[in-house]
Amino acid sequence: MYNSATRKLHFYKRFSSYYLMLLPAVAGFIIFDYIPMYGVIIAFKKYSITKGIFESPWNGMENFNELFNSFFFWRVLKNTIIISGLKTLFGFPAPILLAILLNELRHLLFKKVVQTISYLPYFMSWVVLAGIIKEILSPTRGIVNYMITLFGGEPIYFLVSVKYFVFTLISTHVWQSIGWGSIIFLAAIAGINQEQYEAARIDGANRIKQMWHITLPSLIPTITIVFILQLGYILSAGFDQIFNLYNPGVYAVADVIDTYAYRVGFEESKYSFSAAVGLFKNLVGLILVLSANYIVKKFNEYGLW
């Protein structure tokens, strides 16, 4: 019998091998990504370890009320926005600038070497980087403070003083990410039509004018997309880095949403509360990315999808 049911079966059977190939990935996503998404419901429950996720009683918005009423939450939210904002303010243009400058280097080997060296910090974990940075910034052994004292100043406690911590955080963040971040912009620059530069040179534009009028505008699509992608992470502020560099003395300025959620969850075992914090963060992040993409699309065609 060759009816439409059999035909459908044959049709799908052709693809059965491919579904089999997809199976491990799909299973992985379900088990390790989607099931925890369901676990997010404990944000609306009063989670007890003995009862588990399903049996723990619901408590509606109680965890969220506790969250929005707590002193720490607002401090943590403020810190997150400030740190994230500063990181974007300085950390976003820096790789672009580096890419433009690197592009101006004519000596190819030199350029290659500098590039390779610049990605080096990106390949280290923040556990390692924190160790390295703590040595450099040490008030008694570090070269930075050594040079400061050579010029007659007092050693600065970069990592334990509330005054300097955020500055240190931003600087080391730029240091770590500038090299790697420049790659995508360098690739975009490489795609710029060389004739534009020729025409500009004939018109008498010097190198700097060329950079400003040709290179930079050509990068706008890339810049826009990278920027939108980053917006979704605005509430992230860099857990790895902060966690390894901070200490109780600077919580007032350094504690961000993720570090707070970690301590509340793992050190105080307030699982439901921590889950509420996480859910809040995810939702806001999602809204931000969608809004940003929508707004940008309205002004030109460069969106994420």
Binding site: Y18, V26, E104, S118, V127, E135, R141, N206, R207
Partner: protein
Amino acid sequence: MKIRREKSGRVFDFFNYGMMIVLSVSFLYPFWNLLIISMSSPGEANSFGFHLFPEEFNFRAYAQVFRTELIYSSFYNTFIRTILGCLITVAITIFAGYALAKRRLPFRNIITLFMLITIFFSGGLIPVYLNIRNLGLIDSVWALVLPGAANAWYIILARNFLMTFPEELEESALMDGASPFKVAIKIIFPLSMPIIAVIGLWASVYHWNAWFDALIYIRDKQKYVLQLLVYQIMLQESISRDTSLVIMHRDTTPQSIKATTIIITIAPILLVYPFAQKYFVKGIMVGSVKG
């Protein structure tokens, strides 16, 4: 054709090259500093100065660290997790990417969306942790290897790469009756070495550097990975010498022990890095061609 450089261009070049040199030093010096400290005597390690070269070499810290049991088990565990992680991630990714590259696959778009969502949304720290605990994976290497094995970024990357292969490549084999698996393994994958190398390297670096998952999932000291060991040692600052993870000797300072452990941890990466870095860069380029 030689381009004539204007004077202002030459000044600019001078500053540019100069700045690049300063920048490079700023990237290299911190690592060099740590290396020197690990080989310096306690007196020198603690001194205020440039630490460019030790006046007298002192390898006591290395001796101490290599005499510590934990270093070997941590190294081994890190090695195992990196290899397992790399192999499993690559296997899952390349097969999934290949299947999704088939334009006529039914439900292709839904499945892709299903994967993309995991990039933007996550259950959060606690639900993910509870999940691993419920699966009985606490203190197991699988808690470190499995969660990241299905990675939407990598799969999309592999898919895009594989989509550039013309269908004619497989058509004759398929018509001869070869199964899709055979076609994948015998024809497509050997040609996919570039993307396999990229994903394999990225996954390997990720696993070598991963520390947070070990922090929350591994309790048994024997199962520690290197990064976790470094993390614990970094915390030792305020703990007395007797309870430290590495047996202290009066001739070594906590700083030199930390420095030594870090150097040992990053040594493999530093050795592989110059050769592998072009693959990492390629990966970003391939991924960014789409946008």
